[in-house]
């Protein structure tokens, strides 16, 4: 019974990771990625690796979304400008 927590965390990671691949729009993908990060952090903590979990939380909760969404905004802006110029 002691492995229930590990199995559940692994399951959540597997589902979230599959969803992150299956979702195609980058902005929505960033959201799934954030939740995948949370699931990974739980898995690392359950496996007694809190240092790794803390790295995951520090990078995954605000930094990665910001980098992805800024890139998305840049690409969209460029697209809009070029559409408007035509």
């Amino acid at each position: 019974m002691a492995d229930v927590l590990t199995v559940l965390a692994l399951l959540l990671v597997a589902v979230a990771a599959t969803a992150a691949v299956a979702v195609r729009d980058p902005a929505r993908q960033a959201l799934v990625l954030a939740v995948l990060g949370l699931a990974l952090a739980v898995l690392f903590t359950v496996l007694q690796a809190p240092d790794v979990a803390l790295s995951q939380l520090a990078v995954g909760s605000a930094l990665t979304p910001l980098l992805i969404l800024l890139s998305v905004r840049k690409v969209r802006r460029r697209g809009q400008r070029e559409d408007g110029g035509r």
Partner: protein, 153 residues
Amino acid sequence: MNGWLWTATVLLAVGFGPVVWAVATGPVGRRVVAQNFGTSAVCLVMLLLAQGYQRPSYTDLALVLAVLGPVGTLVYARLLADDLSPHPPHTNLLTAAAALATTAVVVAVCAATGPGRAMVKLLVTGALLVAGNVIASRAVSGGYRNAEATSHG
């Protein structure tokens, strides 16, 4: 496995399981709400795990998540404002549920810890989590009005 770990397991299944589903499907608004609620759920799971494993230092994870999780939601609310503003999601019920769950878990863990510096840290984590969740919900349902209209100026 002790009671704390069982509670963490149940919270992970009941609180975080639906989050994974909700973030993978549906409109952007619902996904951002799910991400915001996921922060609260996982933060509480971390507090319960720290108590369950008898490792007070694991509460640092909850503290960092309580600080950075809402910031992440604000990033989405800010940069996806044009996707969110046509149909701003209403989250009052979910926010109330998260606040209630946070209070319950923090009080229980505090009672088990006893007075001292560790308890102050737990209370700070809980307060940051509730405040962050409320503000992030507010931001998602219209905190950056017309942000897109002015940003191209």
